[in-house]
């Protein structure tokens, strides 16, 4: 195995400063993504950060790397195409809970089924930030938002349980208030071969007055402090339901499974973008003969 050469985090400083509200959890996530890429020795030109639409999805603009700031909910689909076209790039998808678990949930589920070798960091603020505070798929029951003035009546989605049951092979939870751990979790996801989901509590200080930094600080604890074994699928699934007074952070589940790319023989010849284009004469003639 090649040794990893760590890079300075400064290398990933983006061309513009983030325009998030002061105190927004997304600052910590941005920093952690930069630290994770640096720790893994991924150079900016080999890093592709793909997002959808939302406050959190503005992240690619604030990092020095290639970026695709795509459509609301479509980041995973765009990232899939980009990753399959060039498997030499490290693809990190970044977005919000509305983007990924709301409008984009279909792509999310299917990408996990494929165990694509990508890393997905969801900045879960349990609210829609950019559209000024409506309910999201992870908003807790009873939470009053602009679109649910009588309180949210829909059961919040459990992204970790969903990921474990849909085929993701690296499932973790971080908190932007725990930046060092978060950077390690993301770095682990990037290093992992297969689909990595890192659901991150990233408080929206402007529109979510329930799930705040203090709210999380009181409740979260670290799995690594408890010698958690993430390789038992059933136990991990059970753990993913732990919520309330105690909420675990860390790698809940990890498995070694073949990736989608392993099953595609074309990749044996290298990344698609580096393969020759068009057909050679003999193959072309064979294809024509088939039609006669």
């Amino acid at each position: 195995m090649a040794t990893v050469v760590e890079l300075p985090v400064d290398l990933f400083k983006g061309p513009v400063d983030p325009d998030w509200c002061p105190g927004c959890g997304d600052f910590g996530v941005l920093k952690s993504v930069q630290m994770a890429a640096a720790a893994n020795g991924v150079t900016p030109e080999n890093l592709l950060v793909v997002s959808g639409i939302g406050c959190s999805s503005n992240l690619p603009g604030f990092i020095h790397a290639y970026g695709i700031h795509s459509l609301h909910g479509r980041s995973v689909a765009v990232a899939t195409g980009a990753h399959l076209a060039n498997t030499d790039l490290k693809v990190v998808i970044t977005g919000g809970d509305g983007d990924g678990y709301g409008i984009g949930i279909g792509h999310f589920i299917h990408a996990m089924r494929r165990n694509l070798d990508v890393t997905y960091v969801v900045m879960d603020n349990q609210i829609y930030g950019l559209t000024t505070g409506q309910t999201s798929p992870t908003t807790t029951l009873g939470h009053r938002t602009k679109s649910t003035p009588g309180g949210n009546v829909e059961i919040p989605l459990n992204p970790l349980a969903l990921a474990i049951t849909c085929g993701a092979t690296y499932v973790a939870r971080g908190f932007s208030g725990e930046q060092k751990q978060l950077a390690d979790l993301i770095a682990g996801g990037i290093a992992h071969k297969g689909f990595a989901l890192i659901d991150v509590f990233s408080p929206c200080v402007t529109y979510n007055k329930v799930n705040t930094y203090p709210w999380f600080k009181e409740r979260v604890y670290k799995l690594e402090d408890q010698n958690w074994d993430p390789t038992d699928e059933k136990k991990s699934l059970d753990k993913s339901f732990e919520w309330g007074d105690k909420i675990p952070l860390g790698v809940l589940y990890k498995a070694d499974q073949p990736t989608y790319e392993d099953s595609e023989p074309i990749f044996k010849k290298g990344a698609l973008v580096k393969q020759p284009l068009g057909l050679d004469k003999q193959i072309f003639n064979e294809l024509i003969e088939e039609m006669i």
Partner: protein, 668 residues
């Protein structure tokens, strides 16, 4: 012109297409020209399907209007189509199971009942019992004799078809084919005259296969799709050949994913393509705009079928022009191109990849069910293997001393240099938001009006420049014609033929086919149309979409419109009839015809009374108490021919007014 049209009719699951394929491939290998059309329904078994194979000494451009030989695979097919057979034609069927009432065919039509068990006796003795579906091969053998085709070539087709199944199956099939051929030779009279077999072998293929082949040849490396008729066969070809041609083929979870994946692949630097039908394209529209603002090359094929909504899933139409034209919010350059036939689909697809790369934009190819699914023989030379792949302006390396790489640099051509991610010193973000030259967003915090203006103008400049690369439409036929017919897409071939038929009737017509919908050659089209005496559009839709578009771009209105929107493709005789009607100033009579009343009768029986009865005699009447004239349809017993019931169908509305059983309940 020497030609023969063979029809094969039966139910889904009867194996029509395989039989049609054997016949078509045989004729193709003999050097004849073939054009086939399959009229089918969205049903896996049963129903009524109907394949027409038109074979000509010279190029045939549509399935035509004639029927010379009918192969009927069930009783239903005899009853429905026997009347359509031309004088001196023939109807052929399994005489052990079916029969044909001579009153149902025109004069001189040979009724060829094949005593199947007798004809196949020797083959059965040698190989054991055969499956019912293999009896088709016997009938195709007879057709080969009737059509005066060369038997040995047909045997070679079967040998290739069953190569993977081994010698025994090949011999069995060739044996059945020969039995049919020999039987016809001793008992029947050939329908077709002598042919000149050039024996020039031509590919027999469909628009979809050609699009797929062209994509592979043009360097497509990533193909994504979600199954939807009539685009699915592109996916099937791609999946079948993926390893051979080196394309990653991804069946995605939905069309939103399909196009977003293709765009992702495009942004990462691979030539990528996706395809769908109208409904799937509706889901893709937001992403088309994303490719527009990101200036990402991507090719998307939209194969039209009957709409709106799920509409007529297995029927053809050209009614998505405005959907594709208007796809996505806002304004941005794109290519919209409509190939006019199978051969043209090859060059068009290759061109779409090049334009997409050269101008960095989405290229949308508009096909339709007819073009995409019907097979025909195409000259080998059409398939150029020497494609020069030009990816357009791609920066291979960037020295930081030159300053920051400007992905969206404002250029005269509107095209900015692109990089493939992975190139040092060129990191940038492709964003759906408006941005400056360095791809920094200008969207919300500070809208930067001048930058927005410059970016819009930069992208907009591609339109005029692209137009210069694309050939202007040309008028086909005599300049001094009485009437100019305006078409787009696959209607081209049908109208080309209709023009010959019109000439025979003394109507001099010429033809303007619009291939590039966007950008549009407004100047040239205006010049052509302003010189035309009379202008008629011919489109497979209800609202004459192309004619409206041409009027919006040129200010020129048509004098009349020929439209078809019943699911079947335009046909030459249909065009001739309506052009003549329009020229003589007559209204279109939309009354239900006797033939259509029979179809309605069939449909009614199928949904309510299974298959025991069939429509018999049909007479016109004025009905008491109903505000329209009616067709009185007798329904007779399939086997005895005895009248069992009566139906009344409105001539203006097609409504079924009554169904009366004439059999006492106890006798049923």
């Amino acid at each position: 012109m020497h030609e023969v049209t063979v029809g094969i009719a039966g139910a889904a699951g009867d194996g029509l297409d395989k039989s049609g394929d054997t016949l078509a491939k045989t004729c193709g290998r003999l050097g004849l020209f073939v054009y086939a059309y399959n009229s089918y329904q969205s049903i896996i078994r049963g129903g009524h399907i109907w394949l027409k194979v038109r074979i000509g000494q010279d190029k045939v451009r549509s399935h035509g209007d004639k029927l010379n030989i009918l192969v009927a695979l069930n009783q239903d097919s005899i009853e429905r189509h026997s009347r359509e057979i031309d004088n001196d034609g023939a109807i052929i069927f399994n005489g052990d199971r079916l029969k044909c009432d001579p009153s149902m065919v025109k004069e001189g039509v040979q009724i060829l009942s094949i005593p199947m068990s007798q004809v196949t006796a020797d083959v059965v003795k040698e190989f054991g019992p055969i499956q019912p579906i293999m009896q088709n091969t016997v009938m195709i053998g007879a057709v080969l004799y009737l059509g005066n085709f060369d038997f040995s070539e047909a045997a070679s087709v079967l040998t290739d078809t069953f190569k993977h199944k081994g010698e025994k199956i090949i011999n069995l099939n060739v044996g059945l084919l020969k039995a049919g051929y020999e039987y016809a030779k001793t008992h029947f009279k050939a329908v077709a005259g002598e042919w000149k077999f050039s024996r020039i072998k031509r590919p027999f293929t469909t628009g979809n296969e050609v699009i797929a082949l062209a994509a592979a040849a043009a360097g497509c490396k990533f193909y994504s799709a979600y199954p939807m008729t009539p685009a699915s066969t592109i996916l099937h070809w791609m999946a079948d050949h993926a390893q051979k041609v080196g394309i990653v083929v991804k069946q995605a979870e939905d069309e939103l994913s399909v196009i977003n994946m293709a765009i992702g692949a495009g942004l990462a630097g691979a030539r990528s393509m996706c395809a769908t039908a109208g409904g799937g394209f509706a889901l893709m529209t937001e992403a088309v705009g994303m490719a527009g603002i990101m200036e990402c090359p991507v090719v998307c094929v939209e194969v039209q079928r009957g709409g709106p909504s799920t509409g007529l899933p297995t029927k053809t139409e050209q009614a998505d022009l405005f959907q594709v034209y208007g796809a996505s919010q806002g304004e941005f350059p794109r290519l919209i191109v409509a190939p006019r036939d199978t051969a043209d689909a090859y060059g068009t697809t290759v061109e779409a990849f090049h334009i997409a790369d050269k101008y960095q934009l989405p290229a949308l190819i508009m096909s339709d069910l007819l073009l995409s699914e019907h097979p025909e023989t195409v000259d080998k030379e059409v398939f150029d293997s020497n494609i020069k792949i030009d990816r357009g302006q791609v920066v291979k390396e960037w020295n930081q001393d030159n300053g920051k790489f400007k992905r969206f640099a404002l250029t005269e051509s509107g095209v900015s240099p692109r990089v493939i991610p992975g190139t040092a010193n060129t990191c940038f973000v492709s964003a759906t938001d408006e941005h400056d030259e360095e791809s920094i967003l200008i969207s919300d915090m500070f809208t930067a009006a001048p930058i927005r203006r410059k970016m819009m103008e930069k992208r907009g400049r591609k339109i005029e420049n692209m137009l210069k690369d694309l050939p202007a439409p040309k008028l086909e036929g005599p300049a001094d014609a009485d009437v100019t017919l305006l078409t787009w897409g696959s209607t081209w071939g049908v109208v080309k033929e209709a023009i010959e038929l019109l000439a025979a009737k003394g109507v001099k017509a010429n033809h303007l086919n619009i291939k590039y919908i966007f950008p549009f050659h407004a100047k040239e089209v205006t010049e052509i149309l302003s010189k035309a005496k009379k202008k008629i559009s011919v489109e497979v839709n209800f609202t004459s979409q192309l004619a409206r578009y041409v009027r919006s771009e040129t200010g020129i209105a048509m004098d009349g419109h020929v439209n078809r929107y019943d699911g079947e493709p335009m046909e030459p005789a249909y065009v001739v009839e309506h052009v003549q009607r329009i020229l003589s100033g007559k209204e279109w009579n939309l009354d239900v015809t006797e033939e259509e009343a029979r179809e309605i009768g069939y449909h009614y029986l199928r949904t309510h009374y299974a298959e025991k009865l069939r429509p018999g005699k049909i007479t016109r009447g004025t009905s008491k108490g109903i505000s329209e004239d009616v067709w009185n349809v007798e329904l007779v017993d399939r086997t005895s021919g005895e009248k069992q019931a009566e139906m009344v169908i409105g001539i203006s509305t097609g409504a079924t007014y009554s169904y009366k059983s004439l059999v006492p309940a106890a006798a049923k």
